[in-house]
């Protein structure tokens, strides 16, 4: 097995790049999930321990990280539905490119709903 394919199997354009983005967002979400279960497990240690660690999630930098995390989740979720439609809907492969732009549109709408609310919480006068 050659370590790199002689010709490229990758065709570029929307189909390949959505596949790449699905992998990258999936791995990011998985590693956050591991950390997130561990930080939540601190409720079993003591209220003080949990509040101390969750307090670091409420800083501005982590707030921006949470926005990125939500963006990764929203893309992965909507593109996942697109993958299911490509697999199970007879016309899915034909419309995969159109469906990607629908995914991007839904992503923009969802983030437009989420970001102002979240950024108000992050930068707003809250505690």
């Amino acid at each position: 097995m050659p370590s790199a394919p002689a010709g490229t199997l990758y065709r570029g354009r929307e189909g390949m790049w959505s596949w790449v983005a699905h992998r990258v967002t999936g791995v990011l979400i998985f590693f956050f999930l591991l950390v997130h279960v561990l930080d939540t497990a601190l409720v079993r240690v003591s209220p003080e321990a949990y509040n101390a660690v969750i307090g670091t999630y409420q800083t501005t930098i982590m707030g921006l990280g949470e926005a990125g995390l939500v963006a990764a989740i929203v893309f992965h979720a909507f593109n996942g539905i697109r993958i299911i439609l490509v697999d199970f809907w007879a016309k899915g492969p034909k419309y995969q490119r159109t469906m990607l732009w629908i995914v991007v549109g839904l992503f923009v709408v969802t983030m437009a709903g989420f970001l102002p609310r979240h950024l108000m919480n992050v930068f707003g006068g809250g505690n």
Partner: protein, 152 residues
């Protein structure tokens, strides 16, 4: 001199005979699971994000009292348990696919998968124990850190 045997040619019409069946439907079930769990996870995680980040003061409202208040309700216990198990299985199977695609040396593949499965077991078991053994009102904890249900 070594004796050379004439090469044997099998009859072209002979059907190819497998010594043993190496195929199982494991990958098919994994493929179906990714799609089925993905749809459920969309609902569970969007609900989780909405309740924890959008309602009220969002991320600023999250503290021990917030989590304690949620987990006094069996509804959120089941919600979070289902989310934990499905997300861990979905994520582990996804990373397994990626290891299979990119790690070519057998030992690297083996060790990456050992780490992956160990992380799956540790995190899933720990998370499950936390959801079921959690006490919202631990003795001796400062009252101002506890959920309101402790004072009813």
């Amino acid at each position: 001199m070594t004796t050379t045997n004439a090469p044997t040619l099998s009859d072209p019409r002979d059907p190819y005979k497998r010594l043993k069946t190496t195929r199982s439907n494991y990958e098919l079930y994994g493929w179906v699971f990714m799609r089925a769990s993905g749809v459920i996870l969309l609902v569970l995680i969007f609900g989780h994000l909405f309740v924890n980040l959008m309602v009220g003061d969002g991320v600023h409202a999250i503290d021990f009292a917030f989590v304690g208040g949620k987990w006094t309700s069996p509804f959120w216990q089941v919600w979070d348990l289902l989310m934990l198990w499905l997300a861990m299985m979905h994520g582990t199977n996804g990373v397994r696919t990626i290891i299979n695609d990119y790690a070519e040396r057998p030992l690297v593949r083996l060790w990456l998968k050992i780490f992956l499965y160990a992380a799956f077991v540790i995190v899933t078991v720990l998370g499950t124990l936390v959801i079921f053994t959690f006490t919202p009102c631990p003795l001796g904890a400062p009252a101002d850190l506890l959920p309101s249900i402790c004072f009813k």
